[in-house]
Amino acid sequence: MKTRYLLQVYGRQFGTLFGLIALSIVLWILTPHFMTVSNLLNVAQQTAIVAIIAAGMTFVIITAGIDLSVGSVLAFSGVVMATLLLGGLPLGLALLSGVGTGLFCGLINGLLISVGRLPPFIATLGMMSVARGAALVFTEGRPVSGFSDSFRQIAVGEVLRIPAPVVIMLAVYLIAHFVLTRTKLGRYTYAIGGNEEAAILSGVNVRLYRTLVYGLCGGLSGLAAIILTARLNSAQPIAGIMYELDAIAAVVIGGTSLIGGEGTVFGTLIGALIMGVLRNGLTLLGVSSFVQQIVIGSVIIVAVLFDMAWKTNRK
């Protein structure tokens, strides 16, 4: 009973995991350098930023929404935090300001959608432009750089030889999984996406929880901004362009349905890793970055085709 239940709930994720493993084996055969500890950690580190955003995006997409603003929100959060940090704000408070800026933008998205009744696509499309513009205005278009070593530890530090961004990513996923499966917020996230009307009539405060979900997605974009800023040693107002599409792709490859009501964060993590591994492998193989785009786009399409075939098959 237990295994069947696991298979029913996570079967789709096993499929994605199998894809990730198969991909890794192929790359291992093609290029010996792929399967080394340092390279794998490198992949994980490069994946971390998009993966953290994609965790929040998973919540949003399970509610049958979408957040196009994550890349811009990341840039805005990054420059706000960097400016405050250089202005002398203590490290802890500066980090909070980064997450807080993302959270703030996300909550605005959420309010526009749940109270203003705007379609998520439109509300976050607007925020995408507003936050990007705000980041540019805030910095007059220039990068903000020159941080202390203690701040840079967020990107270059290690815990038990694992890079800090990877540790943060894993922590985010463990917490996100817990929230999604064991808390009221998680339960309501599925209920809102699965059947909003039934959720309302079951007494769920749909407006509040939908707003919180967008806030969560924005807050995680802020967290991703901190890591990116630390890694580049610079906060760029033009950072994070196209990150929304990478995040959405990771969620979708991971088996979360754009119709809402279904999905898991671990699927998303595997989806993000597939994209990271693929990029890394293609680079190691010397494939040009132009061709890489074609390959990655095709993988997204094929993954979703498999996903649909899997779901039809179960009917």
């Binding site: 064991r182 808390t183 009221k184 917020l185 059947n195 007494g203 769920v204």
Partner: protein
């Protein structure tokens, strides 16, 4: 159809079912919810694939892999939930996917409208084919579906609960059209739970039980009790096992409730242990009244007292917190989150009870869900089965569990037995008895007069948003209720 078998994850839905349809007959398919009627029809119409067995048409074995294959073979299905595109016109819906064209690419609207008018006219239906179907009544929409089936040259027409949303008069018209189709040689498979209808319209009947065919009979040679016995495999002595509970104090009081254009000057009260029936035609404001009581819709004026206290906040949450539960008319659209499990649905309104600091205690939830699965005899392979895989009757029991789990003091049932088989109906009635015995006040909205008369202690009748009549169960008759419902 011969030796059809269909399995779903964890369930055998159909087990070696054979079924024969003759030319020009109305063949009734009968069975409790979950007996396999819908599954069998979905296989015939190409929505599902059979796991084993064969389908023969005019003696030829056919392979049906998609709804398109089925259409090509002259098989059409009209679902209970109609399948029309609301914003398109009636004509556009009839010709959807095979629009007549001019110059090979431009829509030929004239021909389309003319032919649509012809088909509908042939059925004796007078609707403007250019109007969007969302502007038509349910009965008219259904006729558009029938017209679509006819325009496809269907030889086999499957109708799933076609009368569930129709008025008496509309049903009569539907039946006269079915007879016309029959005379034209169309074979009709008719699924319904309304016994009295079957004898009026059907020629033969096949009864399914637990995914097996338990017999086909001429309807002229069989009686209602026989059919019920075949369906449930036990005698149902009394259709409405009403037990009168002793009535306690006033639990709900409504004073002068108004919602512009919808509800006017509604006042009534409900006592503990009472079943208050609400009758009325479609559109009389019954469901709107329920939604207003539950806080799902706004009101313009009026007061709602619950256990003697004025209800200030107006939202489903506050209604639930004060102990009101609402079993909606449409369980799939409003009652359940189909992609969630039985456990998660049962605990959805009461999840606060099972959580601390926002973290849900899974063990407590499991216990609660297991309790109701046992008490209400919900047929499910596990607590974690998605409710989408359950049959209609079992889904309804999950909805009921939701509110039992909240320990509501007032339960509003909106069409509690619509589309549910006799066995589950009796179980729902028995639950109502248990509820009233424990002091719960029940409001039951229903279109089925026998049910209202059989189960209510008192009946309110609504007409155009007003209460147009009130009867005790002793004085109420079908005639009196109908008279009030029509505004008399």
């Amino acid at each position: 159809m011969q030796h059809i078998r269909k399995t779903f994850p964890g369930v055998v839905a159909l087990d070696n079912v054979s079924f024969e349809l003759r030319k020009g007959e109305v063949h009734v398919l009968l069975g409790e919810n979950g007996a396999g009627k819908s599954t069998l029809m979905k296989i015939l119409s190409g929505a599902y694939q059979k796991s084993e067995g064969e389908i023969l048409i005019d003696g030829q074995e056919v392979d049906i892999r998609s709804p398109r294959d089925a259409q090509g073979l002259g098989i059409s299905i009209i679902y209970q939930e109609l399948n029309l595109v609301p914003h398109l016109s009636a004509a556009a819906n009839i010709f959807l996917g095979r629009e007549p064209l001019r110059y090979g690419s431009l829509l030929d609207r004239k021909t389309m409208n003319r032919e649509a008018r012809q088909i509908l006219g042939g059925l004796g239906i007078d609707v403007d084919v250019r109007r969007a179907v969302s502007d038509l009544s349910i009965a008219q929409q259904q006729m558009v579906e029938v017209a679509k089936a006819i325009s496809l040259d269907s030889k086999i027409l499957i109708m799933d609960e076609p009368t569930s949303a129709l008025t008496e008069r509309e049903i009569k018209e539907l039946f006269s059209r079915i007879r016309k189709l029959k005379a034209a040689g169309v074979s009709i498979i008719y699924i319904s739970h309304r016994m009295e209808e079957l004898f009026e319209i059907g020629d033969r009947v096949t009864v399914l039980r637990d995914g097996k065919n338990v017999g086909s009979h001429e309807l002229s040679e069989i009686t209602t009790p026989d059919l019920i016995r075949l369906m449930v495999n036990r005698e149902l002595t009394n259709q409405f096992p009403k037990i009168r509970a002793s009535q306690g104090g006033e639990v709900l009081k409504v004073e002068d409730l108004n919602r512009k254009g919808i509800l006017h000057n509604i006042s009534f009260s409900l006592h503990r242990g009472e079943v208050l029936g609400i009758a009325g035609l479609l559109g009389s404001g019954r469901t709107e009244l329920a939604r207003a009581l539950f806080g799902a819709d706004n009101i313009d004026s009026g007061k709602i007292y619950f256990k003697g206290k004025l209800q200030p906040a107006r939202s489903p949450r506050s209604a639930i917190n004060s102990g009101i539960g609402f079993l909606t008319e449409d369980r799939k659209k409003q009652g359940l989150v189909l992609a969630l499990s039985v456990r998660e649905n049962v605990c959805l309104p009461s999840v606060d009870k099972f959580s601390k600091y926002g973290i849900v205690n899974a063990a407590e939830e499991n216990n609660a869900a297991a309790k109701y699965i046992k008490e209400l005899r919900i047929k499910t392979p596990s607590l974690n089965q998605k409710v989408t895989y359950l049959s209609g009757g079992n889904q309804q029991k999950v909805v009921l569990s939701k509110w039992l789990c909240c320990q509501a003091d007032v339960l509003i049932f909106d069409e509690p037995t619509r589309g549910i088989d006799v066995g589950s109906k009796a179980e729902i009635y028995e639950l109502m008895n248990q509820l009233t015995a424990s002091g719960v006040g029940v409001i039951m909205i229903s279109s089925e007069l026998p049910e209202l008369l059989g189960m209510s202690d008192r009946i309110l009748v609504m007409h155009q948003g007003r209460i147009s009549g009130e009867f005790t169960s002793e004085e109420a008759t079908q005639e009196k209720i109908l008279h009030s419902a029509l505004g008399g």
